[in-house]
């Protein structure tokens, strides 16, 4: 797609051709869906979460369906950040889209070193995943207290030369506290939401369907929670917010922008329809044309609360 100025957005100094970003963990490193459309059609790709060292991930089953959504407990399976830099990034960086590295770890130092290794690379932005609920030491412990969020954000901020986006967990009492903490810690942007922790049980075997017992809920079911949290956060912090969670149609994307997001990520919807991000982008553009909206940023925060 040619650059369309109506759709382009700037997030923490990084220019995105359009506000549609593939969500971390649902799009791999772009190779598979890259068979279906040029990745340059997307504003950006948030890559599968990567860690300092390779991780095997959780035993299967790792995914299952739920009403209007799904659970996953992949457990951060990934070949390690160096493999990402050497094997995936060279190809990815030639695809004409923005590359967001999504990083996770077990200790603050892990996070920092992972971020450092990305400093000299073609990555456009780092997304700090402090909210993965599916690994024992997957960072969620950093993501559910204000001190934890601020601490890890500050530590990574000091060693990371890329724009830093902090991805928040919805499994908290007050999401705005976490957002404020990330802001204080020096985040350049926020993304939310990650998955809500859930569980399903096979009534015949009496086993949890997900081998990890619990997994992360995503998909349309969580959309209202995501819209609410983005709206609350945007009322409290000045940082640009990338909204995600359950977006599967262009209407959902418009809602998310109106709630305050500068851009959106699409995750689970891609499993239902691999072309979902493209359709969302096209629908958004058509809506803007119909409503005479000149730039997608005009939609951001446009909700008029009662």
């Amino acid at each position: 797609m040619e650059k369309n100025n109506k759709l382009s957005v700037n997030i923490a100094g990084v220019e995105f051709n359009n506000p549609i970003i593939a969500a971390s963990g649902t799009f791999g490193f772009g190779r598979e869906y890259g068979e279906l459309y040029p990745l340059s059609e997307l504003g950006g790709i948030s890559c599968k979460g990567t860690t300092l060292k390779e991780r095997p991930g959780n035993p299967p089953p790792r995914v299952t369906e739920t009403p209007g959504g799904m659970l996953n407990a992949v457990g951060l399976q990934n070949p390690g950040v160096e493999h990402f830099i050497n094997e995936d990034l060279p190809w990815l960086s030639k695809q004409g889209t923005r590359i967001i590295a999504n990083i996770a770890g077990s200790t603050v130092e892990d996070y920092c070193r992972t971020a450092e290794l990305l400093n000299g690379t073609a990555v456009d932005m780092v997304e700090l995943n402090i909210s993965c609920p599916n690994v024992k030491e997957g960072g969620v412990q950093f993501g559910v207290t204000a001190e934890g969020v601020e601490g890890i954000t500050r530590a990574v901020r000091e060693r990371c030369k890329k724009p830093l986006m902090v991805k928040l967990s919805p499994n908290v009492t007050d999401i705005t506290e976490m957002a404020i903490a990330a802001e204080s810690g020096g985040a350049d942007a926020l993304s939310l939401i990650n998955t809500l922790t859930g569980m399903r049980i096979d009534i015949n075997s009496r086993r949890p369907i997900i081998r990890n017992n619990t997994g992360g809920l995503s998909g349309p079911a969580v959309l209202p929670v995501a819209i609410r949290m983005v709206w609350q956060v945007c009322n409290k912090v000045k940082l640009p917010v990338v909204g995600l969670g359950g977006i599967s149609t262009w209407q959902d994307a418009v809602e998310m922008l109106l709630a305050g997001a500068v851009a959106i990520q699409v995750g689970t919807a891609i499993f239902t329809d691999p072309y979902a991000p493209i359709k969302i982008r096209d629908g958004l553009l058509e809506f803007m044309d119909k409503k005479g909206v000149k730039s997608v940023s005009e939609l951001t925060g446009g909700v008029r609360p009662w």
């Binding site: 068979e35 035993p59 399976q77 349309p220």
Partner: protein
């Protein structure tokens, strides 16, 4: 050219083969042109977030055939489709069976694991022995279809109500083959693996796992594999499989 794609495919024929087992033929020239036996499709059931993985049973010039069993909500809804309806299919996916028509091939199938082997038999052009197991006579499916491929076909049922009474692997006793390919329930796959081991021939097993993307992007459908040096790691049924050389599997 795209190696797989999602399309609206018209359902041409729908038939209930045996209670709860449905046989669909869909029109999809582009996807059929890309497909190989043992690959699978991710079928969308509207209203459901995850597509349903269903093996390709047989590949026509412009059609694909799927045989599936009603197991839950998704397959139940699918079974109510009627000829003329459109079905959204993402296919062909994964790695199929490594077919060599010059090698005598033993096909070991059990229950709803039988359909994916039909395409293999067709591609082998007669150089196959198909040993197929079912719970009972009423559940026997695709016997004629296998015979029409020129393959030798032997049937076993658990209760002896049709063919041999007992295990499908029993049927292979007098048979000669250079490679074994199997699809079916876990215990049957283990038996088939053991048989290939005894005979010292390569074995290929088709596995199932719960899936989200179906294309290798989400890492949802993990399967424990071992590499050449015995190192263990998680591969993925949708991309590395669903068909695996049995010596790569950590366990069956």
């Amino acid at each position: 050219m795209k190696p797989f794609d999602s399309r609206q495919c018209k359902l041409l024929a729908a038939r209930e083969l045996s209670p709860g087992i449905f046989d669909f033929t869909v029109s999809c020239p582009e996807l059929a042109a890309l497909a190989a036996p043992g690959q699978f499709a991710q079928i969308l059931v509207p209203g459901h977030t995850l597509r349903r993985p269903i093996s390709i049973c047989s590949i026509g010039r412009e059609t694909l055939r799927f045989v599936f069993q009603v197991r839950g909500e998704g397959t139940e809804k699918l079974s109510r489709y009627r000829p003329g309806d459109d079905i959204d299919i993402l296919a062909p996916l994964g790695k199929g069976f490594p077919i060599d028509p010059n090698k005598r091939t033993l096909l070991v199938g059990g229950g709803i694991g039988v359909p994916p082997l039909l395409g293999v038999a067709e591609a082998l052009g007669g150089n196959a022995v198909a040993v197929l197991g079912f719970r009972n006579r009423d559940l026997v499916i695709l016997e004629e279809d296998f015979k029409n491929t020129g393959a030798k076909v032997l049937i076993a049922t658990d209760d002896g109500s049709y063919g041999h009474k007992g295990l499908v692997t029993d049927l292979a006793t007098g048979e000669d083959f250079q490679v074994l390919m199997a699809c079916g329930p876990g215990p049957m796959l283990r038996g088939a693996g053991a048989l290939a081991g005894e005979r010292g021939v390569p074995g290929y097993l088709s596995l199932e796992q719960r899936m989200a993307c179906g294309v290798g992007a989400c890492l949802g459908c993990a399967v424990a594999l071992t590499d050449g040096e015995g190192r263990e790691y998680f591969g993925h049924v949708c991309k590395d499989g669903p068909v695996f050389p049995m010596d790569r599997l950590k366990e069956v």
